[in-house]
């Protein structure tokens, strides 16, 4: 009984996902590209880098990279702390 209700709910959610995927914008026509056109035109002048994606990640949007480095650091500290507790439990 519970499994049948779960199956009905899963089919409903996946039908909703597929309907939403088919009624988006056409593939290949972005909506608003003014900011990215500015990045492509000015990345070699201001950042002096050939790779526009690296210029966006480290210079124009560097604050997001700082947050991501913090998340990675917190995950490493969490895993190390958890396994230190495991080894201290069995002594």
């Amino acid at each position: 009984m519970r499994k049948a209700a779960l199956l009905v709910a899963f089919l409903f959610v996946s039908a909703f996902l597929l309907l939403a995927a088919t009624s988006t914008r056409p593939f290949g026509v972005p909506n608003d590209a003014a900011m990215d056109d500015y990045f492509i035109a000015n990345a070699q002048g201001e950042v002096a880098a050939n790779n526009v994606v690296t210029a966006v990640v480290f210079d124009y949007r560097g604050f997001d990279t700082l947050g991501e480095a913090t998340v990675l650091f917190a995950a490493v500290v969490g895993v190390l702390t958890l396994f230190r507790k495991l080894r201290e439990d069995e002594r």
Partner: protein, 158 residues
């Protein structure tokens, strides 16, 4: 999976391949401002080469060869270097690219407009940030893999 690692074929191929993988990872980190890649991708490649070494030689292969405190302190050095480079141009704005097109011998050349063959000396602070983030990702993933392998193995042999 036992303490000795995997069979002879796997160990021989690993000995031939892992040097090339580590050098390729450092190449991807270093040329991050010219070709596709950068700090995160290159750090993941070197960490994968290290995980290949660990899986094929087992936990007994790195008994006296690796210092875990060295790995953790290298990760802290990488994180602090990234933060320090972000604060380097604080006179103008946070994350200001101080060395771009400024003529200094450390990554200071200006870039010709349009498609060109890339020169390594360009980019300002971006290659230095690539090295800091690559070091951080490399040592972080390597220490996660080591701790999970050694911690899980030790509790199974109890």
């Amino acid at each position: 999976m036992n303490e000795q690692g995997m069979s002879v074929i796997v160990r021989t191929v690993t000995r031939l391949v892992y040097g090339l993988a580590i050098v390729f990872g450092f190449y991807v980190i270093m040329h991050g401002h010219l070709t596709p890649g950068g700090g995160f991708q290159g750090g993941a490649i070197v960490a994968s080469a290290f995980a290949l070494l660990l899986v094929s030689f087992g936990a007994a292969g790195l008994k006296g060869r690796l210092n875990k405190h060295l790995l953790q302190s290298l990760e802290e050095v990488g994180a602090l270097a990234f933060l320090g480079l972000a604060f380097a141009g604080i006179g103008t704005v946070f994350f200001y690219n101080l060395l771009a097109s400024s003529g200094s011998p450390l990554f200071g050349e200006p870039v010709a407009f349009g498609p060109n063959a890339g020169a390594l000396n360009t980019g300002g602070l971006v290659p230095l940030m690539n090295w800091a983030v690559g070091l951080k990702v490399l040592t972080g993933i390597a220490s996660i893999v080591i701790v999970m392998l050694v911690g899980a193995r030790k509790e199974e042999t109890e």
